[in-house]
């Protein structure tokens, strides 16, 4: 036994690994809320992607959808706040009328942009990747333009943000699960809703009538049409409803996280969401897990900067450049894609426009 222990000790890799596990056990409960908060917009974006792709429509425009929703959430909330003057926030989540208006505007914007994507992809039968690209360019351009025109000249515009839920101490102090409760629920309403939306969408997709029809339409639209399902209508409905999630993700950025709007503030989250969809194999729970995994590297970076680990582990982690943590989610997605390789895991009909009247 002693020999084994010495052998283990001489192997720095294993030693560092144990130190890492110890460090994680100690810090994860502390950073759990950061973890979930970072994952929330990505998970919401991924739900948007799942709604699209499960019904056979590629969506690489999630980024643009989130960005335009973030903008309109902020603008509407700020304008309503300006019109209404000062007011007392509700004790629950710090809810105010302007913030609620902002969230509704974000959802409406997400649906509107999604409707454009639906129209181009489904009715016009444009290439769906090009449609997504157009949405990204349009969202960057239009929000940048309007930001410069409307928001930048008025630096005092703003509507505040949602406040996190204050949990009673006895819940947070529960042994073993207290930190999990804190991790998932010490947040504003949008982050808290993610968990429920994920579970709901999972059930919906695999147990409900609409879910069955959605999966059929994404795999074999012609088969669905021959049993009387209106493929076009279903795709429209799902793509537009997917916009709700992108809208919530956008509202999260401006009304729950930061309270302001900056150009390009989604900074690639929509693309990570796309990675989460693939990594999670087109299932809501899988995508949520992927989002948590992707943000783990970011959360870990935060943790290291807050409480730097000591000893060998500290030495090792200091040699890893901070950029590595930023690139990790993308690297992981790449590896997963390559490992999945030839196996067909995406909905079979994704990306293929559906023409109604058969000629043969």
């Amino acid at each position: 036994m002693d020999q084994l222990a010495t052998a283990l000790d001489t192997l720095p890799v294993i030693g560092v690994l144990f130190q890492l596990i110890g460090y994680l056990v100690a810090t994860v409960p502390v950073i759990a809320p950061i973890f979930v908060a970072l994952a929330a917009p990505i998970a919401l974006g991924a739900l948007c992607g799942i709604m699209n792709e499960r019904s056979g429509v590629v969506n690489i425009g999630i980024e643009g959808m989130m960005l335009s929703s973030a903008f309109s959430a902020f603008l509407v909330a700020a304008l309503v706040a300006q019109a209404m003057g000062p007011m007392d926030p509700s004790p629950l989540f710090g809810v105010t009328v302007p913030i609620v208006c902002g969230v509704l505007a974000a959802i409406a914007t997400g649906m509107l942009v999604s409707a454009l994507h639906a129209w181009l992809s489904i009715s016009i039968r444009a290439d769906q990747i090009i449609s997504g690209t157009i949405i990204n360019i349009l969202a960057f351009g239009l929000t940048g333009y309007l930001n410069r025109l409307l928001i930048s000249p008025n630096p005092r515009l703003g509507a505040g943000i949602f406040q996190p839920l204050v949990l009673p101490d006895f819940l947070v102090d529960l042994p073993l699960i207290g930190w999990i409760i804190r991790g998932f629920f010490a947040h504003g309403p949008i982050t808290i809703s993610v968990l429920f939306l994920v579970l709901f969408l999972q059930l919906w997709l695999f147990r409900s009538r609409w879910g069955l029809r959605t999966r059929a339409v994404g795999e074999h639209p012609k088969a669905a049409e021959t049993v009387g399902i209106d493929v076009i209508k279903l795709r429209y409905r799902n793509v537009i409803l997917g916009g709700v999630f992108a809208g919530l993700a956008g509202a999260y950025l401006t009304l729950e996280q930061s309270g302001s709007f900056q150009n390009g503030m989604t900074s690639g989250r929509g693309f990570i969401a796309l990675g989460a969809v693939i990594f999670g194999r087109w299932t809501p729970i899988g995508a949520f897990g992927a989002a948590l995994l992707f943000t783990a590297s970011e959360a870990l970076r935060v943790a290291i900067s807050l409480s730097p680990p000591t000893g060998q582990l500290g030495d090792v982690l200091r040699t890893i450049p901070p950029e590595f943590f930023g690139a990790l989610p993308y690297l992981v997605t790449l590896v997963v894609l390559v490992a999945a390789g030839g196996r067909s895991i995406a909905p079979a009909a994704v990306g293929k426009p559906y023409a109604r009247e058969a000629r043969t």
Binding site: R207, S208, L212, R215, H220, K222, E225, V227, D230
Partner: protein, 519 residues
């Protein structure tokens, strides 16, 4: 007997159906009626308008003129949903099943059994499906994934799907195209049982003997028109063939005598796997001599596609050897095989043989574009390509406005002629023909068959693979039967008898003992 049936009023009447597509009159005032409990065959060539008519009945296409009556009342069928509501169900030639979903999910789709307004009652659905299967004599596992089922079972799922929707009128589009003769018999038994219970069935086919066997009544369609109606007991294959094609057809071409010389292609112990890793070519030995045609008969899906792909370099074999004119060419690329004198007319023209968006002339040099006179080094020689294209268009009677139109503007027959022109004109020593006439009109079929015989007489070795037994019987000097990845017998092409080959295709044996395994 005929009079007795006419007394009954039809469940379905289609009157004066007209459907135009740009440049084509697909249905030209078609009348059709269907009586209760009847199996009514719709017979016609590929492209005669059968499928269009049925798509109209099923709401997948909208007629320009004409009316549809069900139980004597006019109805509008604008979508499959309307058709299903009126008790019409359709079993499509290409199954309309979602491969990754289960049997139960496929049957339920669109007609879900609900536990509440949102969620499906899966247990109740399973129970009903199993019960329905038993009613018609088969045990079905509702939780099996479609992709794990054999073609025959998938077809049963399609029929269950129709019955689950309480269909009174069942349309089957070429249902036997993918089945073994034995599976065909089983499906016929199911159909007879359905008809006996009062279902009315429209059976679409272009196979004469099949409609004679199963139908109570036969309507023949040619070029979008009804050209005749027959009762099986009062007609025969020759009569139906003449109606279907519009002229006196020779059911066989004159293949003449063959003069086999040296072996061009020699295959020993060849094995290969399909895309899912299953071994589907399991130890093939064969020889093709110069100046002879070896036909490979077999029900589609017995490894023929993979065999052809291995022989033409598109798939790597897992074991065995291929020798061409004395050289071991096992595992060679398509380019090297082409250079060594192999030509290949693929079975799927759209997938393999042509680039439909490219000009015809580029397609005519698709396999030879890289060498003189069509290229010098890396430089394309457009003049030489154009001249060669014009020559081939002339020699092979390809009907096209010019050499530069996109290939997809040509008719299917002319596209196939272009492929044949390209491959036959490369002076091959060995020619692999995979389903060379599938889906073509009779004129193009005759043209291609005659050219193939010319190639043989000029000294090329020909390997013909076809799921159309008639084609194999007509062209082959020798016939090998492929069954589950093996060649189970080799017969003389002239002496072969259709029943014997059919039995070999179906069971892999000459005897009568039935084959039990299904999937």
């Amino acid at each position: 007997m005929v009079d007795a049936v006419t007394e009954v009023s039809p469940v379905l009447t289609m009157r004066g159906i007209i459907k135009r597509y740009p440049g084509v009159l697909a249905n030209d005032a078609i009348d059709l009626d269907l009586r209760p409990g009847e199996i009514h065959a719709l017979l016609g060539e590929n492209g005669a308008g059968k499928s269009t008519l049925m798509n109209i009945l099923y709401g997948l296409a909208v007629p320009d003129e004409g009316s549809i009556l069900i139980d004597g009342r006019p109805v509008d069928i604008l979508s499959p949903h309307d058709a299903i509501d009126r008790g019409i169900s359709m079993v499509h030639q290409h199954f309309m099943l979602v491969p990754v979903l289960t049997v139960a999910e496929n049957i339920l789709l669109g007609e879900e059994t609900m536990a509440n307004p949102v969620f499906i009652d899966r247990n109740e659905a399973r129970r009903r499906i199993v019960a329905l299967g038993r009613q018609f004599g088969f045990e079905i596992d509702p939780d099996a994934r479609i992709e794990s089922l054999s073609v025959g079972w998938q077809q049963r799922v399609e029929i269950l799907k129709a019955l689950y929707r309480k269909a009174r009128i069942l349309v089957l589009d070429e249902p036997t195209a993918v089945l073994t003769p034995q599976e065909t018999e089983e499906i016929f038994a199911v159909l007879r049982r359905l008809a006996a219970e009062g279902h009315s069935i429209i059976f679409i086919s272009h196979k004469l003997y099949e409609v004679l066997e199963i139908a109570d009544r036969i309507t023949v369609i040619r070029r979008g028109r009804v050209v005749g109606e027959r009762i099986p007991s009062q007609t025969n294959e020759e009569d139906l063939a003449e109606l279907m094609v519009g002229r006196n057809v020779q059911l066989t071409v004159d293949r003449g005598e063959s003069h086999p010389a040296d072996v061009v292609l020699s295959v020993r112990g060849l094995r290969a796997k399909d895309g899912r890793g299953r071994e589907v070519v399991r130890g093939i030995d064969l020889d093709v001599r110069a100046g002879e045609t070896l036909g490979i008969a077999g029900v589609a899906g017995n490894g023929q596609d993979e065999l052809v792909e291995v022989l033409t370099g598109l798939r790597k074999p897992s074991a065995g050897s291929v020798t061409m004119i004395g050289t071991d060419v096992t595992g060679w690329s398509p380019r090297r095989l082409y250079e060594s004198g192999l030509a290949h007319v693929p079975g799927d023209r759209h997938r393999w043989a042509m680039i439909m968006s490219f000009p015809l002339e580029d397609n005519l040099v698709l396999t030879s574009y890289y060498r003189p006179p069509f290229a010098r080094g890396l430089v394309r020689q457009d003049g030489a390509i154009d001249a060669w294209a014009k020559e081939l268009i002339e020699r092979f009677d390809i009907r096209t406005p010019s050499a530069t139109v996109a290939a997809d503007t040509l008719s299917g027959g002319n596209q196939q002629k272009a492929v044949v022109a390209r491959e036959f004109s490369s002076q091959p020593k060995m020619l692999v023909l995979d389903q060379p006439t599938r889906g073509l009109d009779v004129g193009s079929i005759e043209f291609i068959h005659n050219r193939a015989i010319e190639m043989r007489d000029a000294g090329a070795g020909i390997l013909l693979v076809s799921a159309e037994l008639d084609e194999v019987l007509e062209l082959s000097d020798r016939i090998a039967v492929m069954y589950r990845g093996e060649l189970v017998a080799t017969l003389d092409g002239r002496g072969a008898n259709k029943e014997e080959v059919g039995l070999l295709m179906a069971t892999g044996r000459r005897g009568q003992e039935p084959d039990k395994a299904v999937s």
